[in-house]
Symmetry: C2
Subunit: 179 residues, 2 copies
């Protein structure tokens, strides 16, 4: 698997993949040596790069969840949000996406104030909303998008309620209608 970014990016991918596989196998407490072994990487370099198992878990969950639902640039806010919400919905219907969300929530410590994952997601959304506002479209706030689209999808997974197909699109349409 060759991809841009070279060896460092490949190691990161391999380690993230090992985390996902171990979580999927129910090994939610797998420690760094086990993760490194599965990834075919030296444990020392995992410790050096991530410092702790929790940091690694957060990085893996955030990276994977963001990459499964990029925000497209379709020329309309409706198209952008629909494309994004469909990606979130797909991730939340996928057992691996569900596992990553649960791992993310379980790993966040109360003392970690600004949550990197939601902040990164918020920055992505803000850029999309800014572009729509420049085009003269009415736009919600980032908080409204998180409250009315992301929260319902995530809570379904966390409370083991089914995520019906079309949920993401319905939530986006409803948000835009309310504007």
């Amino acid at each position: 698997m060759t991809r841009p970014g070279g060896r460092s990016a490949r190691v990161r991918d391999a380690v993230h993949e090992a985390v996902v596989e171990l979580l999927a196998a129910g090994e939610i407490d797998a420690a760094i040596p086990k993760i490194a072994e599965r990834a075919g990487v030296n444990p020392t370099s995992v410790y050096r790069r991530w410092g702790s198992r929790d940091n690694l878990l957060l990085d893996a969950a955030v990276t994977r969840l963001r990459s499964t639902s990029p925000i497209p640039d379709t020329g309309s806010l409706r198209g952008d949000l629909l494309g994004w919400a469909e990606g979130v919905e797909r991730a939340m219907r996928d057992p691996r996406g569900q596992i990553l969300l649960r791992a993310l929530v379980a790993t966040l410590r109360p003392e970690e104030k600004p949550v990197e994952y939601l902040r990164a997601r918020g920055d992505d959304l803000q850029a999309t909303l800014d572009k729509a506002a420049e085009r003269g479209e009415p736009v919600p706030s980032v908080d409204e998008v998180l409250d009315y689209v992301l929260a319902p999808l995530y809570l379904r997974v966390l409370f083991r309620r089914p995520v019906e197909p079309g949920t993401g699109a319905r939530l986006v349409e409803r948000l835009l209608t309310a504007l």
Copy 2:
């Protein structure tokens, strides 16, 4: 502390309280013997009543979270939902309520399909919505109440975003306006 229900209810309260205190003290992995000791109860009766630590944790979290946000009967849907959402918001601003929500989410197993807590909460809400519909008020579905009021409040806590005062009321007003 004497209350209706007699000895059995007192034991349940004491054990729930011990769970909350241990969670609040960071002892999230406390096992039944430790919980029983703190509650001043025989471990055998805890095993007999709850079977496992996870069952006990779920029961404690569900019972406490429901009791902190009962749905009042004010004669209008708006009043009922505002009263309820203020209780949810209060619980989500309280460190003990936050701890219980996190424990609840962490304890739910993927194989546990119908989530008792959300189902019980859903039944409470359905009864309130039915009464409003009988009075001729326009009513949302239970899913809409969960999506647009409960999910945003809960997700803020799970992702460590602040729950600003008035959030619950704002979410309820917005839901009712959209009807």
